[in-house]
Symmetry: C2
Amino acid sequence: MDQTTARSTSVTVADVAHKAGVSKATAARVLGGYGTVSDRVRAAVVAAARELDYRPNELARSMTTGRSGTIGVVVGDIENPFFSLAVRGITDVARQAGFTVILINSGEDLVAERAAIRTLLAKRVDGLIVSPAKETDVEHLHEAVRSGLPLALLDRGSDTLDVDTVIADDRHAAENITRRLITLGHSRIAYLTACDTPSHRFRTVRDIGTGSVRRRIEGFLAVCREAGLTGMEDWVHVGAVSSEHTHRIVTEMLQSAQRPTAVIASDSIIGLEVFKVHRQLGLSIPDDLSLVSFHDADWTSVTTPPVTVVRQPVYDLGATAAKLLVERLNGEAGPARKVILKTEILERASMREVF
Amino acid sequence: MDQTTARSTSVTVADVAHKAGVSKATAARVLGGYGTVSDRVRAAVVAAARELDYRPNELARSMTTGRSGTIGVVVGDIENPFFSLAVRGITDVARQAGFTVILINSGEDLVAERAAIRTLLAKRVDGLIVSPAKETDVEHLHEAVRSGLPLALLDRGSDTLDVDTVIADDRHAAENITRRLITLGHSRIAYLTACDTPSHRFRTVRDIGTGSVRRRIEGFLAVCREAGLTGMEDWVHVGAVSSEHTHRIVTEMLQSAQRPTAVIASDSIIGLEVFKVHRQLGLSIPDDLSLVSFHDADWTSVTTPPVTVVRQPVYDLGATAAKLLVERLNGEAGPARKVILKTEILERASMREVF
DNA sequence: TTTCTTGTTGAGACCGGTCTCAATTGGAAA
DNA sequence: TTTCCAATTGAGACCGGTCTCAACAAGAAA
C-alpha cells in the first residue's frame, strides 16, 4: 500500500503485461475478459494489475470495439418534474444494462436539439433517446438513423420517423377530460400549453410541433366539435414557456370578460401557475374555475382543493424507451415498435358542475 | 444530395484526405482546426468533408488529446427536485463551456457511488462533480483526486477531501429555523431526514454520513441545547428513505402520546409526506403542528397553509460547482475553494406560537 | 511413434484521430 | 544571384485498447 505518486500518464495493459512478464496480448485478454488464458498466467496478470492500480481506458476500448457503452438522452428540460422522472426511468434501465447516460437538455429549442444530436453523434453514443421539440422538424434525427444509430422517441412520435416510440395516449386522455368537463356543463374551456407558434397565437394544430401536445389539442377540439362547441380554437393558448409568460397569459385570461370556466393545463408547471394566479385574483377553484392538469405532480394532491390530473406513467415512459433501445443495441431486429402507455384521470376536487 | 446508403464504417479523415487529394495530416489540420493550412487546400478539404458527410470521431480525438470533453456527475437521485434543479445548473454551465455531462445517480448508496466513480474514471471524464452519500467514506474520491482528476463537491463537503466545494450554509439555516421555533414556544421539535444509520435510530451526529444533513442536525441540537432543551437527540428521526418509510415514521410520530408540536423536514420530499399525513390524521397545520421544510419546492407555496421553507440557491449550487470545475479544467491552479451559499428562510403560514 | 486436436501465447495490425519532425516551396533580404 | 526564413505539406509514430493469425506445447487418438 505504498503511496503512488500522482502520475499523469496512466497505467496501460502494456505496463501490466511487462510487470507480469507476459505479452501485451495476453495481459489484454485477462484484463479485457476475453479469449482464453491459463489460470497461472491469469493470476499473475491480475496481481500485476492490482499492484499497479490498473484502470481500463474505456475510450481506447470503444475505439476498437465501436461501442461506447453510452446512450445519449435529449430532453426538453431536466428541471421539469416530468422529464426528471422519465430520465430516472431511463437511467435505471440503462445502468442495469451496462450503459451510462449522457444527458443534454434542448430547452425545447430546435437549434439546441440539433447541436445536441451532433455532439452525441461525435461522441459515438451507441443509441439515442430523444424527446423531439418539433415532430415536423426531425431531419437531424433522420440523419442519425441513416448513420445507423438506434433511436427511440420519448413522449413524442413522428410519422416520418419509423423508429421505436413510447408515448402516452394523449389524445385519448384529452378527449376523456374534455368530455368530462362538457358533461359538467362547461363550454368555455381553455387549453394552455408551453408550445409556441410563430404568431404566438393558436390557429391550427399543424402549428403545434410537439407531438404529444398536438394530439391532446386534437382530442380537445374534436370532442368540443362533437359536442357542438365551435370556435374552440380561440380557447387554446400557446407560448406559456416561462413562469413569467404563463403568469401573464393566465392573468389576462382569467381577467377577461369572457373568462373560461375551466382550464386544462398541458403540464404541471402551467397547472401550478394557474393555481397560483387564481388565488392571487381571489377566485375560487372549483367554484369560479375548474382546473385539470396533465402530469400527476406531487403538489396536485396537497392543494386545497386537490387538483384533478391526467396521470401519465412517466417513469415507465422513460424506462420503456430505454428498454426498447437496449434491445436494439443487443441486436434486436424487426420493425419499429410503437408503445402507447395508458393514462388515467385522477379526479379530485378541482372540477365542478357549471350552470 | 444523393442518398447515401447507411454504411456501418464511418467516414474518416483519411477518406476526406484522399478525396481532397491531400495527406491525412493536412486534412486533419483542417478538420481538427489546428496548425496552419493554405486557403486553397482548406477549401478543398472542407468541400470533400461536406460531400462525404464527414463527422469527427470524438472518441479518437479524446484518445490522443487526453481530454474527453465530458464531466461526470454523481447525484443521489435525479428525480428529487433538489438534484434535478442542481443538475440543470450544472448542465447549463457545462454546455456553455463546451462540456457534456454523464449523469449517474447513486441512490445515496455508497456501493453504487463507488461503481459510478469507477465507471466515470474508465470513461476518462475530464472532471467530476459529486454529491457524496457519506462524507466519512470518500476513499474512492481520494483515489480519483490522486489520479489527477479535478473534483468538485456539491452540497456536501468533506474535511479530508481538499477540493473545490459548494455547499449551502446548512448549519446556520438549521440554527435560525430552530431558534425561530423555540421563540414560538416549541420544545417538542422533531427533525426528519432520509439519511439512515446502521441502527435506524439517531444517537450521534457522527452516524450521519451526509454532510449537509449532519451540519443541519448539529445546528438544530446546538440551538436546542443553548435554549436548555436536552435530550433532543431523541427527536431526530432518520431513515425516511422512501415514501413508504417516511409515511410510517411520520404516522407513528404524530400519533404518539408525546407528539411533536413542530417538525423540521430535511428535504421537500419528506416535507410533502408530513403534509399529507397530517391531513390524513385530521391534524391542523399550524394549529396542531408547525411545519418547516428544507428546499423551496414548488408545492410549498400553494398548500393551505403555505409551508415555511429554507430556501437554498439550488440552481446556483450546481452552476457554481460546475463553474469551479470548469475553471480547473482550464488550468486554474491554487488551493481548493470552499463556497458557501446563503440560504434564506421564507416564513409562510405553517408555523405558529405554541402555549 | 506419428498425427491430430485443443489450449495457450506472442507478434503485430488496427481503430481514427493528433502531433512531431523533416522536406519543400516561395518570397524577402543581402 | 544567392541566402535565409517562414509558411505549408507529408510521412509516420502514437494514444490504449482489441483482435487476427501464426507458433508452440501437451495430451489424445491412431
